[in-house]
Symmetry: C3
Subunit: 163 residues, 3 copies
């Protein structure tokens, strides 16, 4: 093998792999256990009126288009919580779990979901299986909010790929 | 230094460092504070019967063999939570903390613990001290479950090492 | 592009970017909502007397000097929890969110806050915007503790930078 000085790397314009997934989240409200895919496990604290401190665990289907009933190609498993006093803002950490004829493996993501921005980036910090050791960026967009349901559009761009 | 195009990297067959650790977790049940190493900090929600939403904080000893009374070579400090409606499934984030004559430093890990699979991989997303800036994969295996106790076998394989 | 064998990399002595930030955290105690920047969302469990299991969500200002009233250059958004039975010890995951004329983007960090050590390192596992895909180390120091307030000095050293 070669010793490589990795201190400074070129900021690639083009990712080595890119795809778009839609995340569908339906919050549990006690009566909808059959359809719900997420559940709050802590209560908001009195520090603000914007759910500061509410932590939500989720196992959400991911589809290739906007339709919640489309066949899921993967699942997003993890949690987020609200963390701002003056408006809604969140922080996410989760895995995208693939287990299909096309892909087996996971992507691991974390970062701030700056909900007041039209798009916001979080980090893909690792991967396993078909996504062995990958790194990249996921660009999130709120695509729909309706009562207990929200949909995120996620543009996944991987900039370090191992083959 | 050299500018390096890191877009595509070779998927190494052999890691630069590899070792196996056994994680011993004993859940607190109110009466066993002396022996317990983890504690649930949220309650399961009514969304399912598989502990969905229970979040557990742990500080677990890691040993080189399966025996819980062997001298720990490190500790695993972090949390996991259950996140599936239809069976047990979990998500982990934690640090492996070394502080011995052999190793000082930490490894930071996160990922989905797909409990229905015999082995499952999570990401080593960083390291400090002797494990400066490392990345890799940890392969988890449920090695024992007995009441409040479980043991995980963790095969750690580091694919990016700095010397 | 070039295929690069990244198995073994040189441990750089000098980071490609380095800066120091002070984190100011003021815990919510029901009466101080106006000033508080963090809030406990779970209760300590009976496993120990050192807050084991208390999880705290925060949105803390970051300044260039020690003064809490200095103009924040970024915010730290995330959570930590206490995780040791025999003394205070914590685990952190958070984003540093820049949104100024100087920097736009985020750094994502996680790791063990070994509170009994004068300095301790956690991992910078990714970045976005001006900190696209970066990695590095943050060295934490407890700089002040006063009632509900604590201040951390964070020396951020990035060892992988993309330009």
């Amino acid at each position: 093998f070669a010793f490589v000085d990795s201190k400074v790397l070129l900021k690639e314009k083009l990712p080595c792999k890119t795809f778009t997934l839609y995340l569908h989240d339906t919050l549990f409200n006690v009566t909808n256990a059959a359809n719900a895919t997420s559940s709050a496990v802590t209560n908001a604290t009195g520090i603000s009126n914007f759910q500061f401190g509410t932590l939500i665990v989720f196992d959400d289907p991911l589809t290739l288009d906007q339709h919640i009933l489309s066949s899921p190609v993967a699942r997003a498993q993890g949690f987020f919580f609200y963390d701002m006093k003056t408006r809604y803002n969140a922080w996410f950490a989760f895995s995208i779990v693939f287990n299909s004829s096309e892909h087996v493996g996971t992507l691991n993501l974390m970062g701030a979901d700056l909900m007041n921005q039209k798009t916001r980036d979080i980090s893909v910090v690792g991967g396993t299986g078909d996504f062995f050791m990958t790194r990249g960026i996921a660009t999130l967009r709120t695509d729909a909010v309706q009562g207990l349901y929200f949909r995120l559009k996620m543009d996944i761009k991987l900039y370090e790929c191992y083959y």
